[in-house]
Symmetry: C2
Subunit: 334 residues, 2 copies
C-alpha cells in the first residue's frame, strides 16, 4: 500500500469510531498510516486494524502532523476544539458532529444527493445527522423526479444513536426489568427498556428538539431546498440498532406508488423492501449491518384528494449509512 | 347490592377481559350476577371477583338468559357468532371487537366524544379500536373548538395490543436475545424483541393495514365527520403496555399551542403532560395503568405558513381506556 492516505480517526473508541474502522477495512480504503485518537481515558488501548495492533493516542492540537484526512466522531465540543488544528496542519476534516453542519462555508454531504457540493470545502466537510442521512437517501431521488414540497416525519430511533454506553444501558435495564427489578436511568433521561420517549437531543425555544430541527435545516441545506417545509417528531426506542422513519411526502408533481417504486429501485443506496403480501417491509433487525436504506410500505397518501402525496416507511443502520459509512464515502469522494 | 345488573363477560380470561374485571371492581359497577364466559379451553378455571371465586363457563348461544349487559371481548368471529344470541335473549351487547363497528345501526362510542349516539342502538353497541379511542379522546375537544380537517398519525403500539400471549412472547424473546439465543416468532410475524414492524392486522387492497383503515373509518364515524381526511402508519413495538401516537392535526380555524393546551386541560379523559424543560412528556411507562390519555409535545406545525396546524404526542393504556375502561364507561351510560 505505497499509495495511500495518512488517516486519523478522532473518537476511535466510540460506537461510530469502531464502525469507521470496520467500514475502512471492508471497503479496502487506501491507507498509508492510520492514527487512532481518543480522550486521555483511552490512551494505550490497543485496536486491531487489518491484523495489526494500533495503540490509541490522545487527541490534541498536535495530533495532525502529516495527516491527509481526519475523520472526527468525538462529539461537537471536541470537533470545535480540535478540527481547526487539523485543518491548520493541512488535513481535510470529515466531521460527524453537529459542530459545523450549518456553517455557510462547510459543505454538508450525502454522496447520493449532493456530491458536487464537496468542492466548496475550506478544510472541513460535515457529515449530516444520522436520521437526516437515512431520510435523504430515498427522499432525494423522489425529489429529483417529482419536486418535493413538504415532509412529515415521525422517527423510531435506536438506542445506539446515543452511543455505545446507551446500548449497554438498554441491555442492562432490559435484564433488570425482566428480573422484576427497577431500571436505573443513567445516559437517558428516563427508563429506555420497554419504554419510549419523544425526546432526542435538547429542547429548543420553539418546543421542537434539536434532533427534530436538524432534520429540518440539514434537509434544506443538503437538497438545496431552502423553501422545503419539514415537520418532525423524533422518538427514542428500546431497539439496539438501526433507525426507522414513517414519512409522508408531498410533491409539486403527481406521483403514483408505482412510479415511486421504480424511482427507488433505480436509486443508489436504496433497497426497496416492499412486499406486504409476504410480510416484507423495513425493520431494524433487517436494516442492521446493511449499507443501504430499506424502503417499504410505499403507498398513496389517502388523506389527499389529489395524487401529490406518498407514504413510505424506511429503516437504515444509523451507525453505518447514518454515520461511519457516509463519512468514509465522503472521504472516498476526496 | 339488591339493585344491580346481571352482567356477562365473553372472553373473560383474555387480556382485555381481565382488565374489565379490574375496572368493574375499581369503579364499583352495580352487579347483581356476574357470568364469566370463555372458550371450552378455559371452562372450570376460577376467577376471583371482589373476593368471590367465579367458575368460567363455556360461551354459547344459551349463555345469556337473564343477562342485562354482555361485554364481548373474544374476537370478531365469536362476536359475530354469539352477540345476536345475546341480543335475542334480551341483553344489550357492548362489543370490543371489530365485528359490528362499521354497521350503520350499531353506535360506535367514545363517551367523551359521542355519548348521545348510544340511544340509537338496536341491542349492540361497539367499542372502537384501541388506537382510535386513544386518539379521539384528545382530538375531539380540539375539533369541537377549531374544526378538524386532517390527521396524520404514526403510532407506537405496545405488544399487549395483540393479546396476553403476545406480551409473553415479547418477554420470552427478550430473554432469548439477551442470552445470545435466536428468537422464535409465534404470535407475531417477526421477532418483536428489540425490533419493530409497520404491520398491525391484515393488509388491505390499498396497501394500508386494517388497523390503519380502522383509524380512518372509525374516526369519521365517531366524530360524525365523513369528510375528515386521515393518514395512518401503525407500528408494533417491543413495549409491554400502552400505545403512543405522533399526531399532526390540521384545523379549519387558527389554533395556537396555548389555546390547544387550555382546551386539553379542560377536556375530560385527558391529562396534559407537557413540560419539556423538566423532561416531562407522555411515555408508555407513565400512561400504563392510568385511565386518562396523556398529551404532550404540544407545538405549532412548523411545516405550515399559517396557524392551522398542531403537532402533539400522546400515550394511553390501550387495555384500559383503549378497551376495558371505554367498554365499561359505555355500560355506565346505559
Amino acid at each position: 500500500m505505497a499509495k495511500g492516505y495518512n488517516l486519523a480517526i478522532a473518537g476511535a473508541t466510540g460506537a461510530v469510531g469502531q464502525e469507521m474502522l470496520q467500514v475502512l477495512e471492508k471497503r479496502n480504503f487506501p491507507i498509508n498510516n492510520l492514527k487512532l485518537l481518543a480522550s486521555s481515558r483511552s490512551v494505550g488501548k490497543k485496536i486491531t486494524y487489518k491484523g495489526t495492533e494500533i495503540a490509541v493516542e490522545e487527541l490534541g492540537t498536535n495530533s495532525f502532523k502529516n495527516v491527509d484526512i481526519a475523520l472526527f466522531s468525538a462529539g461537537a465540543s471536541r470537533s470545535k476544539q480540535f478540527a481547526p488544528a487539523a485543518v491548520d496542519a493541512g488535513a481535510i476534516v470529515v466531521d460527524n458532529s453537529s459542530a459545523f453542519r450549518m456553517d455557510k462555508d462547510v459543505p454538508l454531504i450525502v454522496p447520493e444527493a449532493n456530491p458536487e457540493d464537496i468542492k466548496k470545502h475550506n478544510g472541513i466537510i460535515a457529515n449530516p445527522n444520522c436520521s437526516t442521512i437515512i431520510m435523504i437517501v430515498p427522499v432525494f431521488p423522489l425529489h429529483k423526479a417529482k419536486k418535493l414540497k413538504r415532509i412529515i416525519a415521525s422517527t423510531y430511533q435506536a438506542s445506539s444513536g446515543a452511543g455505545a454506553q446507551a446500548m449497554i444501558e438498554l441491555e442492562e435495564q432490559s435484564k433488570q426489568i425482566l428480573n422484576g427489578e427497577k431500571a436505573n436511568p443513567d445516559i437517558f433521561p428516563h427508563q429506555i427498556a420497554f419504554n419510549l420517549f419523544p425526546h432526542i437531543d435538547v429542547f429548543q425555544a420553539n418546543d421542537y428538539t434539536k434532533e427534530e430541527m436538524k432534520m429540518v435545516f440539514e434537509s434544506q441545506k443538503i437538497m438545496n431546498l431552502p423553501e422545503l417545509r419539514v415537520n418532525c417528531t423524533c422518538v427514542r426506542l428500546p431497539i439496539f440498532r438501526a433507525h426507522s422513519e414513517s414519512l409522508l411526502l408531498e410533491f409539486e408533481d403527481d406521483i403514483t406508488p408505482e412510479e415511486a417504486r421504480e424511482i427507488l429501485e433505480n436509486a443508489s443506496g436504496v433497497t426497496v423492501t416492499d412486499s406486504v403480501k409476504d410480510n416484507i417491509y423495513p425493520m431494524p433487525i433487517t436494516a442492521s449491518g446493511k449499507d443501504d436504506v430499506l424502503v417499504g410500505r410505499i403507498r398513496k397518501d389517502i388523506s389527499r384528494n389529489d395524487n401529490k402525496g406518498l407514504s413510505i416507511f424506511i429503516a437504515g443502520d444509523q451507525l453505518l449509512k447514518g454515520a461511519a459509512l457516509n463519512a468514509i464515502q465522503i472521504a472516498e469522494l476526496l
